[in-house]
């Protein structure tokens, strides 16, 4: 196996040719999104439009075309997710404060009755969780978290009370500690890199998946009252 054919010393020609076009389209997209932010009057819809701006940012980062760029995409993605989460909560709270508590109470919701929800959802969520466990790391956490989320969101979990999930969030805090410990071990003594790697990979999957699952249980209580 010739090493030079595996990893080149310079960025290949095709990626260099891609770069100007990608940047120009990203700038145009960003300009469209920003003009939408300027025009739009509704507060919530501004959040949706800003997603376009975030996509433009992802394209600008991705256009670099190295392994480093791929490693930099993941933090950008996570930052945008985190900000939209916090901002949406603040928006909902603000609307409650503004309109007061005495909005007209609506009747109880009917549970949604669709065939696909009963048959396909448990299988899909199980597959997502299994595949996410194989992946580990942040990617696996996101996949498994999406699986848990869709099950809690739609299915009818039996035997999982709210307290159980509160305890589970405590477990996620412990997992975070485990993950940090793995990192420190890695830096302090790189000879133990295997243990450190497994600690960090396992810790972050538990943390991310359980956090998303907590989000799911909050959603379920509000949807299917």
């Amino acid at each position: 196996m010739d090493p030079s054919s595996v990893v080149p010393n310079f960025v290949p020609q095709i990626i260099t040719n891609f770069y100007p076009l990608a940047i120009i389209i990203a700038i145009l997209t960003a300009a469209i999104g920003l003009s939408g932010v300027i025009i739009e009057r509704d507060d919530f819809q501004k959040i949706l439009i800003i997603q376009i701006v975030t996509y433009a940012m992802l394209i600008i980062v991705a256009a670099v075309g190295t392994d480093l760029a791929e490693a930099l995409i993941l933090p950008g993605l996570v930052v945008s997710l985190a900000e939209i989460l916090a901002v949406t909560e603040v928006l909902i709270f603000r609307e409650y404060i503004k309109r007061g508590i005495s909005y007209p109470r609506l009747k109880e919701y009917k549970p949604i009755d669709m065939e696909v929800l009963k048959t396909a959802i448990p299988m899909t969520s199980l597959l997502c969780v299994v595949y996410g466990t194989i992946l580990t790391g942040f990617t696996g956490g996101a996949v498994a978290g999406a699986g848990i989320l869709i099950y809690l969101f739609i299915g009818e979990p039996k035997g999982l009370s709210h307290d159980f999930w509160e305890e589970m969030s405590g477990v996620s805090g412990l997992a975070w500690c485990l993950w940090l410990l793995g990192f420190l071990l890695y830096f302090l003594n790189p000879r133990l890199w295997l243990v450190a790697l497994f600690m960090s990979g396992g810790g972050i999957i538990v943390k991310v998946a359980l956090k998303f699952g907590l989000l799911g249980i909050l959603n379920r209580e509000e949807f299917n009252k």
């Binding site: 919530f44 989000l215 509000e222």
Partner: protein, 93 residues
Amino acid sequence: MISATGTLPLISFYLGLTLLLIGGLGVVFGPKTSTEPIVRIINLTVPSTGVALIFLSYNYTLAMLTFLSVNPILYIIMIRAIIRLEEMGGSIS
């Protein structure tokens, strides 16, 4: 080797850029978006597919996997906000 290596990423790259532009225009200026936030969310899937295609053309498959699996979580957050706001009575200015 030459043909496939050359053309496959090219097709996916140009297609992704096109989808990104179409989707951006659709999200911002598309029909009925200003009154119905859920239509805007549905339109958001078009540029996100474009971004996924661009990741694919650079062979960032892991980033693409993460991006695709973060998307449903994002939709859940947004739709929860929409339903809460609808309960309180419509749009906000």
